[in-house]
Every structure is written in C-alpha cells, then in structure tokens.
Symmetry: D2
Subunit: 466 residues, 4 copies
Amino acid sequence: MPAISGNEYIERINQLKTTIWYNGEPLTGEISEHAAFKGAIKSQAALYDLQHDPELIDVMTYTSPKTGNKIGISYQQPKTQDDLIKRSQMIQKWAKTNHGMLGRSPDYMNSILMALSASASLLEGKENCFPENLINFYELAREKDLSFTHTFINPQVNRSPFYLEETDEPIAAKIIDEIDDGLVIKGARLLATQGGMTDEILVISPGGINDPDYAFAFSIPSDTNGLKFICRESFALGDREFNHPLSSRFEEMDAIVVFDKVVVPWDRVFFYKNIQVANSFLSQSAFRPFALHQVINRQIVKLEFIASVTEEIVQSIDISGYGHVHEKMAEIIIAIETMKALLLQAETKAAVDEFGLMRPDLTSLQVASCTFPKIYPRLIEIIQLLGASGMVTIPTESDFESSIRKDLDQYLQSAKHPAKDRVELFRRAWDLTMSPFATRQTQYERFFFGNPSTIASDLYQNYTFN
Amino acid sequence: MPAISGNEYIERINQLKTTIWYNGEPLTGEISEHAAFKGAIKSQAALYDLQHDPELIDVMTYTSPKTGNKIGISYQQPKTQDDLIKRSQMIQKWAKTNHGMLGRSPDYMNSILMALSASASLLEGKENCFPENLINFYELAREKDLSFTHTFINPQVNRSPFYLEETDEPIAAKIIDEIDDGLVIKGARLLATQGGMTDEILVISPGGINDPDYAFAFSIPSDTNGLKFICRESFALGDREFNHPLSSRFEEMDAIVVFDKVVVPWDRVFFYKNIQVANSFLSQSAFRPFALHQVINRQIVKLEFIASVTEEIVQSIDISGYGHVHEKMAEIIIAIETMKALLLQAETKAAVDEFGLMRPDLTSLQVASCTFPKIYPRLIEIIQLLGASGMVTIPTESDFESSIRKDLDQYLQSAKHPAKDRVELFRRAWDLTMSPFATRQTQYERFFFGNPSTIASDLYQNYTFN
Amino acid sequence: MPAISGNEYIERINQLKTTIWYNGEPLTGEISEHAAFKGAIKSQAALYDLQHDPELIDVMTYTSPKTGNKIGISYQQPKTQDDLIKRSQMIQKWAKTNHGMLGRSPDYMNSILMALSASASLLEGKENCFPENLINFYELAREKDLSFTHTFINPQVNRSPFYLEETDEPIAAKIIDEIDDGLVIKGARLLATQGGMTDEILVISPGGINDPDYAFAFSIPSDTNGLKFICRESFALGDREFNHPLSSRFEEMDAIVVFDKVVVPWDRVFFYKNIQVANSFLSQSAFRPFALHQVINRQIVKLEFIASVTEEIVQSIDISGYGHVHEKMAEIIIAIETMKALLLQAETKAAVDEFGLMRPDLTSLQVASCTFPKIYPRLIEIIQLLGASGMVTIPTESDFESSIRKDLDQYLQSAKHPAKDRVELFRRAWDLTMSPFATRQTQYERFFFGNPSTIASDLYQNYTFN
Amino acid sequence: MPAISGNEYIERINQLKTTIWYNGEPLTGEISEHAAFKGAIKSQAALYDLQHDPELIDVMTYTSPKTGNKIGISYQQPKTQDDLIKRSQMIQKWAKTNHGMLGRSPDYMNSILMALSASASLLEGKENCFPENLINFYELAREKDLSFTHTFINPQVNRSPFYLEETDEPIAAKIIDEIDDGLVIKGARLLATQGGMTDEILVISPGGINDPDYAFAFSIPSDTNGLKFICRESFALGDREFNHPLSSRFEEMDAIVVFDKVVVPWDRVFFYKNIQVANSFLSQSAFRPFALHQVINRQIVKLEFIASVTEEIVQSIDISGYGHVHEKMAEIIIAIETMKALLLQAETKAAVDEFGLMRPDLTSLQVASCTFPKIYPRLIEIIQLLGASGMVTIPTESDFESSIRKDLDQYLQSAKHPAKDRVELFRRAWDLTMSPFATRQTQYERFFFGNPSTIASDLYQNYTFN
C-alpha cells in the first residue's frame, strides 16, 4: 500500500472506535466533524494529499525497499547526505502548509519510529526485548502509512526530587500483569498531542526507571479496549478562518491517556521489565538526532512565518523608521539565521553511525534545541510589542459584514492596508501570540525538548572541548 | 446623592441608550445581561456595594463638603498624608475583590477627574478654557458617583514619526464645527476600556498637538447622539467560574469610539482649540501623580495575587525543594516588595503641591511605573515555567460532573490537592497567564503608562541628580 | 578613650608587628607608607578624623553609656527609630568621602560586633560558650575604637557539594589543641579585606559545620604570634590621583589568613566546639539586619556616585539627545530609587527585637541585597557603553605636563570640557569600571552577600505570603 | 620579496623614525624594547615566523602571481571556495598563537587592503579617484608584506546627532591644502590600534561625509613627517608571564593619531574630495565580507580559549556537579557552535561577486557580528561568576619563589591542581576577564563592528524576508 491520501487518513480515523472524552461527554459521530478536532484533521489530511501531488512525488516519497510502492520519505532510513537533505526538504514542505504549527505532524513520529527500528540491534539478546517486533512494526507502519500519537511523561502528581509513587492504585501507567494475550497496563500517561486522531499510540519509557513495572515500550491501536483519551478544553474558538486563522486550522488536542487494564499484544511489545534497557534505549539509539532533526526543520519554518507576520505589521503601520524596530527585527533575523546555520552544520557534519544511518551532528542539533525555547517566547513578545494597541483592536468578520463596516473602513485603515486586510493581519498576529492556541504553542515549544536545565546539562556533559 | 450601590450602577447603565456594536450587531436589551459585559458589570457593581458595607463605610467613603453625603474616597482631594493613606487603603480594598484585574475600576477615573479639577486654576484666563466647567463637572460626578471610560490615543493608522494626517474625512477625532449647542466632533479614538458600561466618556488630548482642531477636553454621556462604541471580540470564553475563574468575572471590553458629528454641549467643554493648553495641561496638572498612585496600588494587589497563585502551585506539585524554584519565587517577592517600597516612599515623601493637594512623590511613582511593565510579563512567564505541563492539562467542570471523574480523581490528584481542586488551581493559573483575557492583561499592563522608552525619557529628563 | 582620630589610627596600626607578605617579601617599615596600603589607610584615617570635626560631632558620635566619652555611632545599640536614622546618616556621611568604595570601612565591622554582642544572650548557658567574653570585648572595642578585618569563608580547594576535607595537615583553619593559654588554631581562611591594616581580626564560623573542630568564634590582635596575612597583587597602579583617582585612594587589600598554631587567649573566645551554636548563632542573632543595613546605606552612596559620573559623561560628550541614553540613565535612576525605597521601608517597618534593638525590617534589606548584585554590574556596563572609545583614550597626567599637551588640548576637548578635565573624567570612569580596582569592586559587590542562589533561597524560605 | 620573518618585521619597525608619545615623553630607542610595545611586537613577530615554518608553508602562504614568491595568504584574492577555506585556516592558525587576543594581527588589515583593491573598479572614471594607486599600493604591500594600522573614526568631541564641527583649527583630520607634493592633512583621528608598531597607516573615510575636505583615502608610512601617535597608558602591567600571561604578550597599544600638516604623496592617494565616493566606497566594495570573515575566524579561536580556561576552572575546583555550572558551560558551548555554524554557512553560501572574488555570505557574517558583542561580555562574566573568590586570591610568582611558598602550597591547592598551577590558572582567568588588558578587550569586542544599533539596522535593512 503506497503513501496514503488525506481522504484515506480521514476515513481510517473515523472508522476507529476510539474512546475520547471531551467536556464531560464521550465523542460520538465522526471525529473529523467534531469542532475540537476537525481543523487539525483537515490540515493533517492536506499533508497526506501532498504525497499524491504529481509535482511533488519525488520530494514527498521514495520507493519502498520491500514493496516498490511510493511511501513517505519521513519513514526512510537515510544512508547518504543526500537522503538527509531530501528528508529536510520534505519536512519543510509539509511544515510550510501549516507554518510549523502542527507540532506533531506525522513526519515527527515517523522519523522516531524509523530511528528506533534502525537501532533495534541494541535490543538483541537482552532479557524481555523483542527487536524483531520493533522492526516488523516499523515496516508495517511504513507500508500502511500509519499515524501516531505518543506519550513520554508521567502524571504531574508530585514533582519533588524525592518522590516515589506509593499508592494502592497505579497513577503512572505500569505493568500490572502478564497474560497469554500480552502485557496488562493500568494507569495514566501525559500528554498525548493529537491523542484520538491517529491510528496508533506509541508508548516508551523515557529513562529514570527504578521499578521494572514501569519499563516498557510498545505501540497499540488508538481504539484498543480500555484505552481512553481525556481531552483538555479545545483552543479552537471558532471555525471562521478570518477570525481565527491559525487556531481554526492547526489546534492539535492534548489528551490524558488512561490505560484501564489495557492488554498489549505480545507482538506489539518492543521490550518490558528490563530497567537497564528502558533507561538507555532512547539515548543510545538514533532517536535523538532524528527527532531533533525533524523538529529543527519545522521550527525554522515557524520562525520564517513569524518573521513574515512581523515584517507585515511593520510595513502596515509604517514603523520601519524607528531604531528600536530595527533592533527587534534584527533579533528575528538572527534567530532564523542561527537556526538555519546550526541545521546546515548538523547536516554538513553528518556521518554514518553504528546503525548505518547518515546521522546529523547531534551537538549542532542540541545547540539549536537549547536556543529555540529561549528565542521563541521572545519573538512572540516582539510581535506583541510592535503590534501594541493593534493587538487588541480586533473586530470580527461579522463586523465587516454589517453596516458598521464603513466606520471600520475609515478608522481601522493602516498606512499600507485597507481596514479589513489590516484587521486580518492583526488577527493573525493575535492568533499567533495571544490566543489560547498561541500561548499553548509557546508553552509547547518551551518544553518540547524537556526541562531547559536538563537539556543544557546534556549538552555540556556530552561535549568535547578542543 | 450619596455613593451609589451596585444596583444603582447597573440600573443607570441599563437605562442609557448607548450605541454599542458587538460582532456585527448593535446591542439590544440590557447590557448587564450581555455575555460580553455581564461579568465585568457584576464585578463593578460589587465594588459599589462595598461602599454600603457598614463595616467599611469609613474606609470607602468620606463626607461631601458640599452635601454632607457619604461619597467615594477616590473623589476626595487629599490634603494630608493621612488622606493619602486612606486613599491607598480604599483602592487596595476594591482591587482585592478583583485581584487587581479590573484595570479601569471607577477609582481610576475618579482620581483623574479629582486631580484635573483641583488643577483647574491652570486654565484660568486662557483662551477657550472653562475652568469652572471642569470644577462643576467634577462636583456633579462626585455627588452622583458617575462612572467613566476615557480615551487618550488616536487610531494606529500610521506610526511613522513623520506622519501627519491629511485625509478628506477625519480619522482621528477632531473639531469640525462650533455651533450654538457646542463643539461638533467627528472621527475616532482608541481604546475605550469599559467603553459602553459607564455613564460618561471623558476625552482629553494627550499632548503633541499641532493643529487646534485636535485640541480639546470634555466629558459627555455614553449615549450621546452620534457616539458609537465598536467592541473587539470578547475574551470571556464562558460563564462558569470553575472553567474561567477570572475572565468570566473581570473581562473589561475595549472599544473603538466613533464620533459621528457628536455635539459636545458647551458646559461640558473644559478647553478647546488652545494648542498650548492641550499640550501642557495633563503634565502640569496633578494628573500624573494621582493616576499613578491609583495604578501602583492596584498593581501591588495584582502582584500579591500572582504570588499566591504561584506559591499554591509550588505547594500543590511539591516543587519547593528546587533551587531554581526558590530563585523564581524570590523574583516574585522582590517584585512585590520593590513596588511596595516605592509606594511607601511616594507617600512618605508626599508634599502639598501648588493646588493644595497632598501630592505623592512623582519620581517614586514613575520608577514604579517603569518597573512594573518589565516585571509583570516575567512573573506571568514564571507561572508558566513552574506550571509546565499542568498548564495545559485542564479538563472542564463538565468533565468532573461526568462519569470520567473517577479517572480524573485518580490521575490528576497532586501532592497536596484532590484532582478537582488541583484542576481549579491550574485553570486559575491558565486564566491568569494563557487565556485571551490573560494575554490582553499582559499587553494592557505593558503599555499602561505608554511607550516604555517615553516613560524612561520622562523619568530621566525630570530627575535631579545629587 | 573617645573616638580616635586618623593619626591615632595610623600610629596604632604602624606600631603593630603584624606579619604581612606582599609579592614574595614580608613587609618591613611602616605599613602606612607601603604602596599597597597607603591609599586605603589614608582614606580610612580621614574617616576617623571626621569623628573630630566639630560640626559633625553629633552626626558621628554618641555618648558612651560607660565612660561618658564621645564614641562612634556605628558602635551604638539602636533602641529607637531615631537611633536607626542617625546610624544611616553616619554611615552615608562616611561613605560619601570614598564614594562607597571602602567596602570594609570600620562601621561595617563595628555594626557587626554591636549586633553580635547585643545577641550574646543566645550563648547563655550553652556548652563552650562565653557570652560575657563577647560583651566585654564589644565594650573594649567600642571604647578603644578598634578596627577589624574578618574572615567568613574557607579556602576554595574544592567546591564540590560532596567534599569533606580529609588531609593530614589542616587546610581550612581548625582547632588542633586546647591549652591553658587558649585555643590553638591551625589552617587558613579567606579573604581578609583590609587584612593587616586593622587592629584586630574577628573570626566566626558561618554555619554548615559538621566537625566541632571547625566551630569557633573569636577575635585576636592582627600581630598575634603565628598569624600571617598573605596579600594578593595590589590593584593600586600608581599614586597620582589624576591618573588613578579611585584606586590610588581606596584600594583595600585582600589577604589569605594563615593561622600557624595561633593561640587564641580564652578571654577572646566567644564560643568553640559547639556545632549547634556555630550553625545558628549568626542567623539567630541581630547580625544580618545590621550588617545589611550598613551595606545598603553604603551601596546607595556608591550608586549616587555612579549616577554622577555617568551624567557627567553624558553632558561632556553631549549625548543627552538619544533615546537609548535616556533608557540607560533611567536604569540608573531606577536602581538608586529602588534601593532608597527599600532602605526607607526597612527603617519604617523597623521594630524592637528580642534583644531590645530597633531592628530594621529584614525582608526589605534582603530584597535590596538580592537586587544590588544584579544591578551593580549592569550599571558598570552602562558607563562602558556610554563612554565607548573615550574609555580607552586615556593619556596620563604626564602627557598634560609635556609639550604634547597642546595637541591633547585641541583633540581631546569635549562639548562641555577642556581636554584635561575631560580626560580626568574618563580616567575616573575607567578607574570605576575597567581598572583592576574596578573589576575587583564588581566581583566584591557581586558576592558580598554570598552566593546569589543562596540569598534568593533565604529570602523565599523566610517570606510570609499574604 | 617573499613573506617576511619575525626578525625582518622587527628590524623594519625599529628602523622607522616614527613619532610616538608615551606618558609625556617621545619614544627614543628601539620600539621593540619598549615596555609598552615589546610584548605585542614579539607576538606579532611570531606570526611572521610561522610563514617560514616549513611544515606550514602551504597553510600560510601562496605563490605571488607577480613575482612567484611565497607570500602571505591573507593578501590572496580568493577565487574559489577552497581559497576561502584556506584563508580561514590561515587566520585561525595565526589566531591560535595568541588566543585571538591580537585584534589587529596583520591578516586583518591585509584582508581589508586585498578587498579594497579588488574593488578598485568602483573608483574608475570618478572625480579625484585613483584606482591604479590603490591597486599598485596593494601589490607593493603584498610583495613587501607591509604591516598596517588604520583609523576609521573622528575624535569624540561631541556625539550629539546635530553636531557639525565648526572651529578655527581642525579637530577631525581634514584636507587643508593641495600642493604639488600631495594632499596636506591637519587634525586628528582615533583610535589607531598598534599605532606606531606598523610600517604604514591606512586612513579611510567611513561614510557620513558632508564636507569634501573630510573625504579621502590614503596610506602613508608611520614615520611620515608631521605624523604623531599619542599613546594611552599601557595595560601591560609587567613582563613576567606567570603574573600576566596575556597582557605581557598581547597588549596592543591604542593611539590618537595627529596629522600636523602631513603631506600625503599623490601616488598614495586613493581618492579625495569626492563625497559620493567617500560615502559609498566601503559599503559597495568587498570590504565588509572580508573584514568580517577575518574577525569571525579570530573570534571563534578566542571563544575556544575562553571555553578551555573555564572548563579548567570547573575541573580545578571540582564544581562540575552543579546544575547552574552546566547551564553556564552550555552557554559557552552554544556561543562557540553558533559562531562556527554561522561561519560555515557564510562559506557554504559564498558566491563569486562582481569583482571576481569568492565572497562569503554577508548576512551570515552580519548575524555573527551582531551576536558576538552580546555573548563576549557574558562569557567573561561567566568566568568571574565561576571563579568567584579565586579570581582575587592571586599571589605573584615572587610569592612562590619565597619562603611563604609552603603556606601557599598547602592552602591554595585545588581539587585537581597543586597551588602554583592553580594560581597560574586563576591569574590567566584574571588577565582574561579582570585586568585592564581584559576590560579593554571587552570594550574592543563590544564596539568592534561599530554601534550595536547601527549594525542591527544594517542587518535588517539589507535582509530579504522569505
């Protein structure tokens, strides 16, 4: 089966009987029509459709080594620098359709699954490890173009450094039994972005495991029995694109994932109850360089979008004559060029790793991943500072459709724009920086790579000084 | 007539036939029941009710020198340091009921009107100036406990330093005629916070006037013929207090104010077509020290609320053992104590001014007003940093009322709180830092005193070095 | 004996046979004539002389409750708010003579000794504690106007959190014996500012003591047998005031203090080998509020000096028309006014403590002590930024005395100054910000109150939220 | 004549009769033996010697297209990407010998002269322009391996934006006459780094010229009649390398340059009295990309030195276990990798320009040049923060040669170093961050590329948004 189309994606998701709770009610009906999901599903479908654009066929897909089908490049194991550059082009192509706002577009998880399965040899001959399950599952996912959510963290019950969970009923998801059909999991995990709108959920222990019951890695279909996704409030405030140009299209849901005695079939278990493997697999595998590579590519596209919105505001209200505006615009340019240069360095210094993958330079990517969470909130702030009162002078499209329009046309025009265009611009800026969608994006980017101190420590402790 | 009650306020506002446009439609029906206004109106009414609390009568009111009625202290001309301290107590008392979130609670405009009228002597004997109108109107407002919105800035059409408006039809509001009944005004002004939910609108030119047609100061009822308030989208996302504890109660609207050949009666004109007065009245009057004095008091209450929410998060998820948490909490404490110390200094160094007012020390207040716009966004960021994933793990009250509650109870409990209390806390933190209401608050505080460079220049240029 | 004069101070120091090593040689001859010490000694003598200025007698001294002599106010136990304000006035008066550059002017240690002896009741009835020694010694010091250096920290051998010293020979000073004559101390301590140029050295354990051999507090004369002061390189680069206007006068030495089997007489021991007392005495005593109170007063004077130098540069090269200059000057003003306001708050909220002292509010002082180490380096940087190339265009006084002067007069004049005055100004700015004296001042202020994280933790952990 | 050796450089400089004033006296005797110059001259000579190292001949030199001699690569006009990379290697090789501390090592001016002469066609056919003089002079300099100082800025008399010099006697250097022998120049310019220790001085107007008398570009020998170099105080505090490991070797002098009716021979004039050319030549020529390319290469070497010193301190006192140390070390790594990535991007995106030069990408270099002045002072601060009290505990080599050594050996040892090594390390850190040499380096790097706002404006105004 070749790379899927948008419709195939939507149909497959609609057919699943996934248990999703939203605002006190279980979802019924097609998820692709639900207000909290339809924007992101439609945008995601558009990504899949690009795989079938005749002009982009070689940008978006490659030939399956197994079936000869044209399949998505994010599933490809890159062997050459050229493969790596193609991978970047594909990622950026997708990201441009959503301005880098879909943090969990399918290429992210596809890249991770590719990297993990390429590293399956790390599981060879280890207790309770099933490298062949991992490889088989990767091939299945690749050929079927499966989509994924995942969860890496435990509930935020207690963040004390000395906390060990000791409750009768599990809170963090754990193995409570092993039966003929598979592992039995009970408890919860956070936060599944796109939870409910993907084929599968991939679950991996991130390290720091002391108790074998918390050591596992597997993937199961979203509608597995006992699996529940509990959504937060949606940040899609409406579906008119003029009013909410970003959130109406790119709001990905975040869900708490509850495992209510979920049975994970044995052929979907990659490892379990092996503390040593649970604590080392992610860091020893090709996971980090390839996950970071996808993310940095997406973030560059996002920065370019931020730059274009900001420059448009500067031109619109004609503030390009101020020194402080130059300094703020220079900050944005510095951000973009720094991220691009680090990506270039990562690819220029790429080398074939122990798994035969052309692996981008991890240090360069780590530096980028330490840089972005600091600059993103600052760039968001710059837009607010330059937009000033314009950021709250935001009537709606309905106002422009009413008799009050002639007042708006007169009083909200700008130096370069008629009123409606100008309000459209400032609403875009608002949805990028001040809407609940926007603030969630900021929070998301800030913590994407984990705790800032931890990623700084990682960088330092793995760095070789000249 | 003594200080009004909440009901009197609501009735008076409801009776006005103010023209308000919201989302493409003119408001009909009672404004106090309209989703976009009802929260703030109810919270404002609660302020007025405090004036009738028997235990607070001496905190909230003083005896009118004219009528002997008990009237609001914010209207009082302070003559002694004790008056000043009582003024602070009153302001903080009101602010505490809304955590300092009502930026335009009535004491703000009351203080301004008091200060302006006390400075009326500046208008004596000047062309087109009517100091007695100002004094009479202050007394009217004081005795009737009138509420106000106001506008100080022109539309953001073009912010170029070289821009001069040259259009056939006015954009910024200007005098287009003088008739027997008064001045005729056409054009628009930004941004009337609480626009539509007050008795009156006060309009004053802020300086920088080159053309006499833009030089004026007056006050007119909100329902004056030809006056229109065009609202932005509301940031009250719902009216359940659990879900949106702040925005459901404290969302003040911001409106564009359109003057469509509005006639300002002569007895409501304070001055007009006097460029020299227009450019100097605000800065030479007692306006700044008393406006700042009200604001700093409110902001201190807001900081204390921020501190309490943050400390509650720290305790809830038990992160008080981390050094970086201490440093962030110390930042908050430093912010509070610095603002309090500056207010104390302003009051300790207060002196009787040329108008006979006990005027707080302007430098201390200016320093506070340079400090707050920098620290407020940082404290908001600190809450986001400490709240981390908890800031987006926010199911709704409906979830807690459904059968999914038992999962929430188990998986969203925190070290110190059962799940519902913990979600209530994090929703409060979200509404304080990440909701559209929150981001508008940040934008509002950032620009409250005007452009940061301008307020820094003001401070420097008026400072005497030892 | 009343408060001493400058000459009395110099004579007393010269008569001591203190062992001081400088640049590979022991000092011989009078210390007051030694290039590394003479500037600071002369400046310190000037402080003592102020005590005899007839016009300042009531500002600088009070009447000894024991002898009726006029003695230094820094030794006074303040009982009233007025005492506290007088104390501040005295401290600022002294500090102004050296622009706050003498970090260890005698009032610092006098205040500490006053506070410790007032807290002597904490030692009552505890093992190996001698409160009467402390009180007697305080009275002796007060009546003789003794001067002090002190040391609070151990050598920086190993700063690992897990380090415990385990060497055959002591590194950090410790008790190695108790004999009839007193305690025997061996080892070293850091960093004695003014080490060698004071009558006495006060040594107190700062807390964190695990081994009773490190638990002690005492004072001994600087020339005690076995006591050695090993100096760093001097930062007084020359003695011409034009060339080095600050360092030629205010360079205080820092010395490593070596105890080579030093015998501390029993009557000079305040406590020893009592771990509980060693770890709690400083924090439970009145030490912190009074030490901080002296320091904040001095730092305010220093900030005012920084402000005056900066403003003089701005005027000299006529840059007061730039917005970025206003913003930087505003930063300086904010720094001064914030520190003053916090001091005012500390004094306004002062209350009588358990020892009968009128104790300034500790929180306000702690906030100031968290603030200053951040703003001081920034203000230093501002001077460098505004001074720009002028900071390195610094010929010497000899140049102005040579035939090249006419070129300097023409080419180094500024908008407001003839060349020599302008170079004098920029040399002052250089000596304040870029000389070795200047960088040591920055380092000193940065760490004055200890590690920034620690003082932030202290602030948070002792704060009561509303 | 091939690339010169160190001795040839020294002999040539010593033979010049350059007029240099230092501390009120004209230099007599050999400049290479003068305390204020000998360190830098020796270090510079070492650079020239590298050109004769048989193993480095191909790294340091190329074959003159004119004479077939081996001449310095910094004079080469790069035509290919390989040329560019060789240029970088040569620059870094030189810089490593002085840790990037020689800001004006010969490659800097050589690169500039190369770039200017390659751009000579811009002067073709323009009034008072002599492109052939520029080309001839470049070839002369290249073949003789001449060394240069230069001056780009006018005296800091008045920095007001509205200042125009109007004095009887010139202050800023200007043309006062044209005679048969050449232009006559009177006035001064700032700041000639290495002024007096080079063969020639290159003088170019930087733009912003309104008066043709200030429009000129030329080069003359340092000992031209009427030319005077007036030095600032030297920052070489001594010549023992242990005590002052950097300043004793790398202190470059800064001098005021006085033109006392200096005659510039016509064949050394590149252009004069052409305002349009004076204002555009530097920016239109290849000057900026090649000057920046040299600087960024040098700064990367400097960052690596900073990193190595900091890491050595961390290891020495064993503080690598602290989170805040990791964060600070990560900042350093981020700085290095960001600068390297930007250089890589500049070279990867290099393209042949209108003059046939392989020109590195200017935007990437501009971004680096906006970044470095911000990070350099911060990294210097990090060393001070980590070094803490160790930064002032710095006895001298003489102390280690005296009998006090045994105390130092015991009390100043560190976790990883014997005392003398540890003091050597901290003295190095002091000379890098806190000596007058260090603070001048910081000031120099901060302003190297000019005013930070200006370089930000340049970046923004020339950037093309996607």
